[in-house]
């Protein structure tokens, strides 16, 4: 038989038609076309014969393998049991690890709550002195007002000192202040420095304890002042 002329539907569409994989409108139009078009009907019949044949072949019973079946089912059951056992162990392990982490976190939080940073002891550095000269509020024209800590650091040691972290603690709360990368006090040097924290427009200097902690390359330095 011959291939249909181009005005007919593309044979590939008949293949998809047979599989019911076309939009409804297209399928309906093609079904109508079939009535008056023997060549297209022949294409569809051929595809259909091949498809029905393949479906019939697929129905042929597989050879029975009772021993293989028994063995496979046993293997499957063992595999799943093993998998479940592993999963159970993994779940236990995950639970234990989680519990340890949570306990650690809880302990750290509890320590944090019961041991405030104000209690952080200064490391004994007899040759290094930190003095909190004054605490004041400074108002500039452009920038918001700030609470300033004027400090003096004296390094009487024979080696330079690096300031890594600065934490101020006052009636407004505790706050870490940024430190310039080059905050270094050379051996024998005395350095005056201002650390500030921004405050609200209407803030006033409140009475209470004002404390500054410097974490240095050699240890911590603490200085404080009480404002009556």
């Amino acid at each position: 038989m011959s291939t249909p002329s181009p005005q007919h539907y593309d044979p590939q569409e008949w293949s998809a038609y047979l599989d019911g994989e076309l939009p409804a409108a297209r399928r309906d139009a093609m079904r109508d076309h079939l009535r008056d078009c023997p060549p297209c009907a022949a294409i569809l019949r051929s595809f259909e014969a091949v498809q029905r044949g393949a479906e019939s072949l697929a129905q042929q019973p597989a050879p029975a393998q009772p021993q293989r079946r028994t063995r496979l089912v046993a293997i499957g059951a063992a595999m799943i049991a093993q998998g479940r056992s592993w999963r159970r162990w993994l779940l236990w392990l995950a639970a234990i690890v989680s519990a340890v982490i949570l306990a650690g976190l809880a302990a750290a939080l509890w320590r944090g709550a019961t041991q405030p940073r104000q209690a952080t002891p200064a490391v004994a550095m007899p040759k290094v002195q930190l003095t909190l000269d004054r605490v004041l509020i400074t108002r500039y024209f452009v920038e918001p007002p700030s609470l300033e800590y004027d400090v003096t650091i004296h390094n009487g040691d024979a080696r330079p000192l690096e300031v890594i972290r600065v934490i101020v603690s006052d009636p407004l709360g505790e706050k870490e202040r940024p430190v310039a990368a080059a905050l270094r006090v050379e051996a024998g040097q005395t350095l005056q420095r201002v650390f500030s924290r921004p405050i609200g427009e209407d803030a006033r200097l409140q009475s209470g304890r004002y404390r500054i902690l410097l974490e240095t390359s050699d240890g911590r330095l603490v200085a404080e002042k009480v404002v009556p």
Partner: protein
């Protein structure tokens, strides 16, 4: 193809041997047929066994996003493809990607008799791997283009074109007996 009920499937996930037996009995025939078509009779039983081991190993992870039958056949498809890759069959490279000339069956040929089935089975064995896979999967009536695409890891339009080419080629083989 049967679909296992939810309770049996749940028991399969727990590794209940009776439920796994039901799964095996339910899908042994289509899996065997697919495998037999793809790898040949000599190795069909071994690959079938490999498929069921893979199915049992993964049934606990089956999420029910598709029908169980589709999922089992998709596993079988992958096992077959892996097996064929190992065997380094290179039928795909011999496959023509162009359109096949369309040959039609004469009315007497279209009779679904024993001789026709035998010739069709022989013709299917001569198809390139992916065409054979597509025709075989399509011969399980539940498998839509989308499900075949998922099993074969290809696009929908590729399934459509592959099936068409496979049918054209089968008709050509049947005609040139």
């Amino acid at each position: 193809m049967i679909e296992l009920d939810a309770e049996t499937l749940r028991r399969c996930r727990r590794g209940d041997p009776a439920a796994l037996g039901a799964l095996y009995d339910g899908y042994r025939q289509p899996v065997y047929y697919l495998v037999r078509r793809m790898v040949g009779e000599a190795e069909a039983e071994d690959v079938c066994q490999e498929t069921f081991i893979a199915v049992f190993g993964a049934v606990a992870k089956f999420e029910g996003k598709s029908k169980l039958s589709t999922w089992v056949l998709a596993v079988a498809t992958r096992v077959c493809l892996m097996h064929l890759r190992k065997r380094r069959r290179r039928e795909i490279s011999a496959e023509s990607t162009g359109d096949e000339p369309l040959t039609l069956l004469s009315p007497s040929d279209a009779l679904l008799n024993k001789e026709f089935f035998q010739r069709l089975a022989d013709a299917m064995d001569r198809l390139p791997e992916n065409q054979r896979m597509a025709v075989t999967l399509r011969s399980f009536e539940e498998m839509s283009y989308e499900e075949i695409a998922r099993a074969m890891n290809c696009r929908l339009d590729q399934v459509r074109a592959t099936l068409f080419r496979a049918r054209c080629r089968l008709l050509k083989f049947l005609e040139g007996r």
